[in-house]
């Protein structure tokens, strides 16, 4: 046997490249071609490494520091084992590799891939170039995230077979006695927010059903609305036992051409199930949970719904939903649960002496809640200028808020960082006296008020009530907060299993919330204050900064991608890590990250760093226009 075929020879280099993204996804022939053309070079610690047009370099052992001529050391970049640099590679700032200076940080072996071979592979496999061009694109990320625990099988096509009609049926039943007219039946359906009404005998026996489709047909055919319900009702009412699988219920409906089935328990009416219920229940649809939240009869129902948030998020992630979509749905559901909870509390405690606006703060206000995120709320009574009513409303709310807090805690919607406030939190920030001491992120709770959004409503216009009264939010104060928030450089990336800072420091743990999401959120929030961007979502704010020309549009777009990446990492950690670590958001161990995730992480931090520097530069200009802060 003679292994003279070059593609069979460099197995060791091929094996190395097979673990280096993006080459790990190359077909074996392309991988073999790259490996066969590769050259292995050693650079001793401190030696200059040529970064020319001729090669793309992969670090096999050791690491290199990259610097653009003229840049300060703080702008250095680092490549570790399994990472690439050189011509055609994005060096983290959308720049070409040519002209960069590279130095070996330690004795470093590089596998150098000739440009012509690399380009040929890129032509055949466009994802290779795409990986370097856009490290944060979904295509460049890990193909299949680790399956979150508690996540149903993504292909849960058997859901209809495993769930029972009784589980998805609505509990509330609307009914009318024999005799009333169609108008009355319609009013009962409207009041109960249901699509059907049962007609009962005086003794309680169900004798027929009138559905919204029946009423529509009556109107369309010109039937008199004062006709009795018996003239329109369908009889007898099709019914199934609660223990019947959903699939059989659906078969029954399609076979009979009907859309409503009475669900009975031991022969007694227990609920109603519709075709929509069955289809929505299939796949744990968020719409089914939303509908269930709207119809929840008590705290037990709400608890069941809020317990469904995490499995729902896991299910959505398993189906490939981006973190932004998941957080949007989680927020929407939490909001619906809260609205229903407030309605139930009002039933228990009576109505407030004055109308009350509920403001969602922080992540809820920005529509960026993740499973496990608590709801931060503010209750703002509108006393209409009457101090007596105002005092009564505040007394009422002071009694209500602790109860609300307990209920939210029982629902899993309170976290250590979430808080309930009486009054508009933005008005509570003492503007002149509020001085940031150290890291403004320490004052997250105070600044979350600037993410306020009314419950069930659109984004709040204006950063603070002061604006509504005609005062301009103090520019100098907002600018000083932003400058403080932008003073801390983003990390560089992960090197040798540690999170590297731009000043050369390092640490062993990576808190994605503290070092990724929260700085972006804070920069976006405070920039929105400075440049008067009203809507509260971080992505909206960043895009607005780009479209207003505050920062280059590309910088804003990359910051949006970075934020999406951080949120996605947080979501994954929340769905997979809680059981093992016992903490909601356990820090990541940088040493466990795959080269692909390290690559994306570095690009994400670089995007945050670019945003930070662009905002600082723009602040200098704006402060020059306004005078010193």
């Amino acid at each position: 046997m003679r292994a003279s075929d070059p593609s069979q020879q460099p197995e060791t280099v091929q094996a190395f490249l097979a673990g280096v993204p993006p080459f790990d996804r190359l077909p074996s022939l392309d991988l073999a071609a790259l490996a066969a053309a590769g050259r292995v070079s050693l650079y001793l610690a401190g030696e200059a490494v040529p970064v020319g047009r001729d090669f793309v370099c992969c670090v096999q052992r050791g690491g290199v520091r990259l610097r653009r001529p003229g840049d300060l050391p703080g702008r250095d970049d680092v490549r570790g084992e399994g990472e690439c640099f050189g011509q055609t590679c994005d060096l983290g700032n959308g720049q070409d590799g040519e002209g960069w200076e590279a130095t070996a940080l330690e004795d470093t072996f590089l596998v150098r891939l000739p440009r012509e071979v690399f380009v040929a592979v890129c032509r055949r496999q466009p994802f290779v170039a795409g990986y370097f061009a856009d490290a944060l694109s979904p295509a460049a990320r890990d193909a299949q995230p680790a399956g979150p625990t508690g996540c149903p099988d993504p292909s849960d096509g058997d859901y209809l077979f495993t769930r029972l009609a009784g589980e998805v049926a609505s509990r509330g039943l609307a009914d009318v006695p024999r005799g009333p007219d169609l108008r009355r039946a319609a009013r009962v359906m409207e009041a109960g927010q249901v699509g059907s009404v049962l007609v009962r005998e005086a003794g309680g026996a169900v004798i027929g059903i009138v559905t919204d489709r029946d009423l529509r047909r009556a109107v369309a055919t010109g039937m008199a609305l004062d006709a009795t319900v018996e003239t329109l009702m369908s009889a007898p009412v099709a019914a199934i036992e609660a223990k019947t699988p959903c699939f059989e219920a659906l078969l029954s409906m399609t076979g009979s051409g009907i859309r409503h089935l009475l669900v009975t328990r031991d022969g007694e009416p227990a609920g109603m199930v519709t075709a929509s219920d069955l289809l929505l229940a299939h796949g744990r649809s968020p719409m089914a949970l939303l509908r269930a939240a709207r119809r929840a009869g008590d705290a037990t129902d709400l608890r069941a719904i809020s317990q469904g948030l995490r499995p729902l998020a896991a299910s959505l992630v398993a189906r490939g939903a981006p973190a932004a979509a998941v957080s949007g749905i989680v927020t929407l559901l939490a909001e619906q649960v809260l609205a229903r909870l407030l309605a139930l509390l009002e039933k228990r405690c009576g109505p407030s002496p004055a109308p009350c606006r509920w403001l969602l703060l922080g992540a809820a206000g920005r529509r960026e809640m993740l499973p496990g995120t608590g709801l931060s709320l503010a209750a703002v009574p509108d006393d209409g200028g009457d101090p007596i009513v105002g005092r009564a409303a505040r007394t009422y709310l002071q009694a209500l808020l602790p109860m609300l807090g307990e209920e939210l805690a029982a629902l899993g919607l309170r976290a250590p960082g979430s808080h309930l406030v009486l009054g508009d939190p933005r008005a509570l920030v003492p503007l002149e006296g509020f001085a940031l001491d150290g890291d403004p992120l320490d004052h997250e709770a105070s600044l979350e008020g600037f993410d306020a959004r009314p419950l069930g409503g659109r984004d709040e216009a204006g950063p603070a009530p002061a604006v509504a009264t005609g005062e301009v939010f103090p520019f100098g104060l907002a600018a000083s907060w932003l400058r403080a928030a932008a003073s801390r450089p983003a990390p560089l990336g992960v090197y040798r299993g540690r999170l590297m800072e731009r000043d050369g420091g390092s640490c062993e743990a990576l808190d994605v919330l503290a070092r990724g999401s929260r700085p972006v959120t804070a920069l976006a929030r405070l920039s929105a204050l400075v440049w008067c961007v009203a809507p509260t979502g971080t992505v909206f704010r960043l895009n607005a900064l780009g479209s207003l020309g505050v920062v280059p549009a590309a910088t804003a777009a990359r910051a949006v991608e970075a934020f999406a990446f951080f949120q996605s990492e947080r979501l994954q950690a929340l769905l997979t890590g809680r059981e093992s670590s016992g903490r909601e958001e356990a820090p990541l161990a940088p040493g466990t990250l795959s080269p692909r995730r390290r690559h994306a992480l570095r690009a994400a931090f670089a995007a945050v760093e670019d945003l930070r520097l662009a905002l600082l530069a723009r602040l200098d200009v704006k402060e020059g226009e306004h005078g010193p802060a």
Binding site: M1, R2, A3, S4, P6, Q9, P10, E11, T12, V13, F16, A35, A36, A37, G38, R39, V40, S41, L42, L44, E47, Q60, R61, G62, D107, F109
Partner: protein
């Protein structure tokens, strides 16, 4: 004429009664006229490793040869050589346990002469490098005498001796010169100690590549960032030439 030149020109007697094969003649022509002061970056090297049936070239035989080419101190993994060799005698069980090559598995392999000719063609004008290379060369030269009419003429560099010299110097600088002898100088141990990539042991291809990494490492360390010639490498590591 310097010591190095004399060493380069030293000849081992050709094989008795075996005519000089054209492949060996071509090899000798390719190896002639080497400048001992040539810079390492301008030289070609072939790092080799062999698997054997034992340690005595008179009684035991080659069973595989693996080699990889270097251009200067740059490894070219795509330019490598590997061949099994059909041995004359049995393959002892102990040897099979080490390299997992059995007599039955080698029945279809080419014979010594064919493999040697192809190896010499692959070697060209390159200098041979190996870990404990005198053992490999003992077998290669014995086979070459038997089949091609004489020994190989390529100079050899032993990474074992380079490593010993390197460690001695390193430890002496720290006042611990006496410890050098107690160190483990096997190829896997050295690769581990110097932080080099790890490869499967007792596979001629993998061992040749591991020795190539080790050679590049030791040569670059000996050069300490300065251009280094063959003679400098010889002085730095007291390389073994034949």
């Amino acid at each position: 004429m310097g010591l190095l030149d004399r060493l380069l020109r030293r000849r081992v007697p050709d094989g008795e009664g075996v005519p000089l094969a054209p492949a060996l003649a071509a090899h000798r022509a390719a190896q002639a006229g080497r400048d001992p002061r040539a810079l390492l970056d301008a030289c070609a090297f072939v790092v080799l490793d062999t698997e054997l049936t034992g340690f005595d070239p008179r009684r035991h035989a080659l069973v595989s040869i693996g080699a990889v080419r270097l251009s200067g101190l740059e490894i070219l993994p795509g330019q490598s050589f590997y061949s099994l060799v059909r041995p004359q005698g049995d393959v002892p069980r102990d040897a099979s346990l080490v390299h997992r090559l059995t007599a039955a598995g080698l029945e279809e392999a080419p014979g010594e002469a064919e493999v040697l000719e192809r190896f010499l063609h692959f070697l060209g004008d390159a200098i041979i490098v190996g870990h404990h290379v005198d053992l490999d060369m003992g077998f290669l030269n014995a086979a070459s005498r038997r089949r091609l009419g004489g020994p190989l003429e390529a100079p050899c560099i032993d990474t074992l001796r380079l490593a010993m010299a390197f460690e001695e110097k390193r430890l002496a600088a720290g006042g611990r010169a006496g410890e050098a002898e107690s160190l483990d100088y096997t190829l896997p141990a050295l690769c581990r100690r110097f932080g080099l990539p790890q490869f499967a042991a007792h596979d001629a291809r993998a061992d040749a590549l591991a020795a190539a990494y080790l050679f590049v490492y030791l040569a670059r360390k000996s050069a300490r960032g300065r251009p280094l010639g063959l003679d400098g490498l010889w002085r730095a590591g007291r390389a073994w030439w034949r």
